[in-house]
């Protein structure tokens, strides 16, 4: 392989695929990036066998070929390269990087040994505008489970039924549901996409991109701009989310989002740093106000926010982090909080917007 390209293009390619490089694998080859030429493009590829990312940059190909190069070293070198024309040339498994009159040689791996990120041969494509999908990811990714005991909860359910698109996530302590419309779509899809993949889509998706989704039984390929992401779907049955969302609530509150967030964050400073780090926050809702009165070894806090209250008084406690998470992704000035009592799930949604809700389960003590 022999190519000439610009440093900034090289950097773009490396940055795009880098997060798919396995960080913990014992297989050294999985900690590397594959580059191959095709016409006058250079393809970057990386995979940890769960997710694969590909992207292409325009280069001047002088000799076709492919190389596999240690990711960490390569990305650091590329970052430090001067802003100039770079020539990359492979000799056996050595990869020479030339700039000005200098060169850097890296020992690569045999490209034949690099796992193939196989394509999905499907002409069926679902098209989604990037802006819609990005904001849906942002609103739902907060409720994904981190621990792996039950894999279905570590992903986000993507469900497309005609013009309706839904993203749902839950770690069983809370559930986030975001929906939207893709005009004209008639295709159907249902699958659980790993949250890591969703994060990458969110990171790489540009606002003016169009996202194309195609799939077979257990894999999905997402294409946008010069990027392709191939991901495994999480196997298992996602719980029926519609069933667990309460239909009626006794108490409806309208709260200023920013004030609410600031208050909960301040209260959480106290409980987060207590010895037990339980990070709980307790709301006393009465007389059109939310009162927070908390103390710990380090201090105490008394706060009161005026709100619009419709319905009964309620005292309810939450993991403060969950409240902060949802308040941070709601962009409307006011947030609607609906409760049916101290021990029942509580619903948060943006004011006048039925497309998003986050259900948070209270604490019992």
């Amino acid at each position: 392989m022999k190519i000439i390209c610009k440093k900034e293009d090289l950097l773009l390619g490396v940055n795009t695929v880098q997060r798919a490089v396995s960080s913990k694998s014992t297989l050294p080859i999985l900690q590397s990036i594959k580059m191959r030429t095709e016409n006058n493009y250079l393809w970057f590829e990386a995979t940890d066998l769960e997710i694969g990312i590909r992207c292409q940059i325009p280069v001047n190909v002088m000799e076709e070929g492919q190389v596999v190069i240690p990711a960490k070293l390569f990305s650091e070198i590329v970052r430090k390269l001067p802003d100039t024309e770079i020539k990359i040339e492979s000799q056996d498994s050595n990869i020479n990087i030339y700039y000005y009159s200098s060169d850097f040689v890296i020992n690569g791996y045999d490209p034949e040994e690099y796992p193939e990120i196989s394509d999905i041969s499907s002409s069926e494509n679902i098209e989604i505008p990037a802006t819609i999908f990005k904001s849906m990811i942002k609103q739902t990714i907060i409720a994904c489970a981190v621990e792996e005991t039950r894999p279905v909860f570590t992903g986000i359910l993507l469900q497309i039924e005609g013009e309706n698109i839904n993203l749902v996530s839950t770690d069983t302590h809370r559930l986030a549901h975001s929906q939207s419309v893709i005009p004209g779509n008639q295709k159907e899809f249902k699958g659980i996409i790993p949250s890591k993949t969703m994060q990458e889509i969110y990171r790489l998706l540009q606002d003016d991109d169009i996202l194309y989704i195609s799939y077979n039984n257990n894999r999905v390929i997402l294409k946008f701009g010069s990027v392709q992401i191939i991901t495994r779907l999480i196997e298992g049955q996602f719980p029926n989310y519609k069933q667990v969302i309460p239909q009626t609530c006794g108490t409806k509150l309208l709260i200023n989002t920013k004030k609410f967030l600031d208050t909960v964050e301040r209260a959480s400073l106290l409980s987060r740093d207590n010895y037990l780090k339980t990070n709980t926050v307790r709301f006393n809702i009465e007389n059109s106000a939310i009162n927070i009165n908390q103390f710990s070894e380090t201090g105490k806090i008394n706060e009161k926010i005026d709100i619009d209250q419709d319905g009964e008084d309620v005292t309810i406690a939450f993991n403060a982090k969950y409240i902060i998470d949802v308040l941070k992704v709601v962009e409307t000035e006011n947030i609607l909080m609906e409760s049916s009592g101290s021990f029942s799930p509580c619903i948060f949604r943006p004011e006048d917007d039925d497309n998003y809700l986050c259900l948070v389960l209270p604490l019992r003590s």
Binding site: T172, N279, L361
Partner: protein
């Protein structure tokens, strides 16, 4: 006049735990020695050839057997020790089944020579495979000598099942060692042809016995333990945490003079060392429990090795608490010996194996130190110590690196000790060097801070009720019958921990809430852990114990680390806080916090 031997009636026989009495040579030794002890002997001489199948001889100076009873003694269910099953509730003897001699007689060539004090001559009875061959009068001192030859000669399957000479003999010497520890007032000797393996003085001093059986080094390090309340008393010795071993081999439990095995007591003992010892290490301990015979049942195991206590929970709690109090009161510093001292294997077969090498291990110094606390029988007069002990070979007692053993049980010892410490400086940004002008103490700063944080957090935990995070989608837990019983028995504990369980169907439960412990990644896993822990532990753990793993993590993360630079002021603060903890000597994982190098040791090292 000795008590008459009678055959137990059928009703009584039926109620005695039946099963194999003689499994291997070790069983013969145990049964016969126990007979000698029941016969009030204060000297028991044991001789073993090979692995015990060619010859075992037990000679005692006890009360002997009436000549007219001798034939009866070897019959099944013939005993002088009980008459009816109720007698077990006030049993004072080790034997009660009348089975041992009969069982031994049926699988060996047995000879019993016995003379009571009233008799002029001894009577000998010889039996082969259960058949009486002869009885005759012979000359012999008062007491009983039982000789067992060709053990298992008529049960080849049993023979084949036995291990090598060294394994079988190892088991035997281990057992004799334990029997000797149980009765320091009896002089034991274990011999092979031509050599003495070990002997005990039999002067009633337990520490003396420990020195003989477990070695001087161990004896020097152990700390006395004592409890007396109601009808239960506990006495004996336990090792400080820095003197541990990787197996339970060094632990002996004795209930009213009977050596027993007990999972319950083992784990109660280990619990006493909780956070003082790493979980895979075990202490050395010789623990005597005395309680009324009606409080337990010996009649549960044919070899009488296990007993069932009536109030297991209470007993194990008392033992755990006593051990813990003893340990925390004893200033268990890890001593950095500048002179190497190795732990002896148990049982000990050492120099005295050599023919003609008689030694005694009584160690005057230790005894003086502890004598008031450790007399097995306070009436024993030390000045009567003669005979065997006159051949003390000083060279066998290793030179001691330190001047004194730690003197335990000073109430305010811990506080005043820490108050006197002042930091000198930091070493490698990891250890704090301190002194009280009596020694040099090296403190692991991370371990010390971890201990402080751990106790703080535990304190807060105790005073706060954990909130429970309710779950949107309950976790379905399926339990086995045994698990279900245990879960139900600990329902409240689980609830207080924050687990909300709801019965769903047959042995199926919904887990509807889990403790809110943010740093604990999977509370659901904790539930399974809890269940496992209850199942695997003879003493069910408390909720606190379960939550502990998580507290460990919190404490560890928030503690200062190695390579953190500290000012003198910070070091002083750390020492002050450490002194206030319940256990300033080891971190929550059981690793030492503080290591001592005494002035004496330094002087030795510098040859001053």
């Amino acid at each position: 006049m000795n008590p008459k031997i009678r055959i137990l009636d059928q009703h009584c026989v039926n109620q005695i735990a039946a099963g194999e009495v003689i499994e291997r040579p070790l069983s013969v030794i145990k049964e016969l020695v126990e007979n000698s002890l029941d016969a009030l002997a204060n000297k028991v001489e044991i001789t073993v050839e090979g692995r015990g199948t060619s010859l075992i001889r037990i000679k005692d100076n006890g009360i002997g057997i009436n000549p007219e009873d001798l034939c009866l003694a070897v019959k099944p269910h013939a005993t002088s020790k009980i008459g009816k099953i109720e007698d077990l509730d006030s049993l004072n003897s080790l034997g009660f089944r009348g089975e041992a001699l009969a069982s031994i007689a049926s699988v060996s060539k047995l000879s019993i020579v016995s003379r009571t004090r009233d008799q002029i001559a001894a009577t000998e009875i010889r039996i082969e495979g259960g058949q009486v061959i002869s009885t005759s009068e012979v000359g012999s001192p008062a007491g009983t000598t039982v000789t067992v030859e060709d053990l298992f000669f008529n049960t080849p399957a049993r023979l084949k099942f036995l291990s090598s000479d060294s394994t079988e003999f190892g088991l035997i010497s281990d057992m004799v060692g334990r029997l000797a520890l149980a009765r320091p007032d009896v002089s034991f000797s274990l011999r092979r042809p031509n050599n003495l393996i070990f002997n005990t003085a039999g002067l009633g001093d337990l520490l003396d016995g420990i020195a003989s059986v477990l070695g001087n080094d161990t004896a020097r390090k152990l700390i006395p333990i004592e409890y007396n309340e109601g009808n239960l008393s506990i006495s004996g010795f336990i090792s400080p945490p820095d003197f541990s071993r990787s197996s339970r081999q060094g632990i002996t439990f004795i209930v009213n003079g009977r050596v027993i095995r007990s999972k319950l007591l083992n784990s109660a003992l280990k619990n006493g060392y909780h956070t003082l010892l790493p979980s895979n290490m075990y202490p050395t301990a010789v623990i005597n429990l005395s309680l009324p015979p009606a409080e337990y049942d010996v009649n549960v195991h044919p070899a009488k090795m296990e007993i069932k206590f009536k109030s297991e929970r209470n007993l194990s709690q008392v033992l755990t608490d006593t051990v813990r109090k003893t340990l925390l009161g004893s200033r268990p510093l890890t001593r950095l010996s500048l002179v190497s001292d190795e732990q002896k294997p148990y049982p000990q077969i050492k120099k005295s194996d050599l023919p003609g090498h008689v030694k005694s291990n009584s160690w005057e110094q230790i005894r003086m130190q502890y004598s008031s606390k450790t007399n097995y029988n306070p009436k024993i007069n030390y000045s009567s110590k003669t005979g065997i002990n006159s051949t003390i070979n000083d060279n066998l007692i290793p030179q001691q690196p330190e001047a004194n053993p730690v003197i335990p049980n000073e109430k305010d010892d811990k506080n005043s000790f820490f108050q006197d410490l002042r930091p000198i400086g930091q070493l490698f940004s990891t250890y704090i060097l301190t002194t009280d002008d009596k020694g040099l103490y090296i403190i692991d700063q991370h371990a010390a801070h971890e201990r402080i944080r751990y106790e703080n957090i535990l304190d807060v935990y105790r005073n706060t009720k954990t909130a429970s995070q309710t779950l949107l989608i309950p976790e379905i837990v399926e339990l086995t019958l045994q698990e279900e019983q245990l879960i139900l028995a600990h329902y409240e504990e689980l609830y207080n921990l924050g687990f909300i369980l709801e019965h769903f169907g047959e042995r199926t439960y919904f887990l509807r809430g889990v403790p809110i412990l943010n740093n604990l990644e999977a509370p659901q896993k904790m539930f399974k852990l809890f269940v496992d822990e209850i199942i695997n532990n003879p003493i069910p753990p408390s909720s606190e114990r379960l939550i502990e793993k998580w507290i460990f993590v919190l404490a560890c993360r928030s503690a200062i680390k190695a390579n953190d630079r500290l000012s003198l002021l910070e070091m002083e603060e750390l020492l002050m806080k450490l002194g206030k903890t319940n256990n300033p000597y080891s971190c929550p994982h059981g690793r030492p916090i503080i290591i001592e190098i005494s002035k004496k040791e330094l002087e030795n090292k510098f040859n001053r």
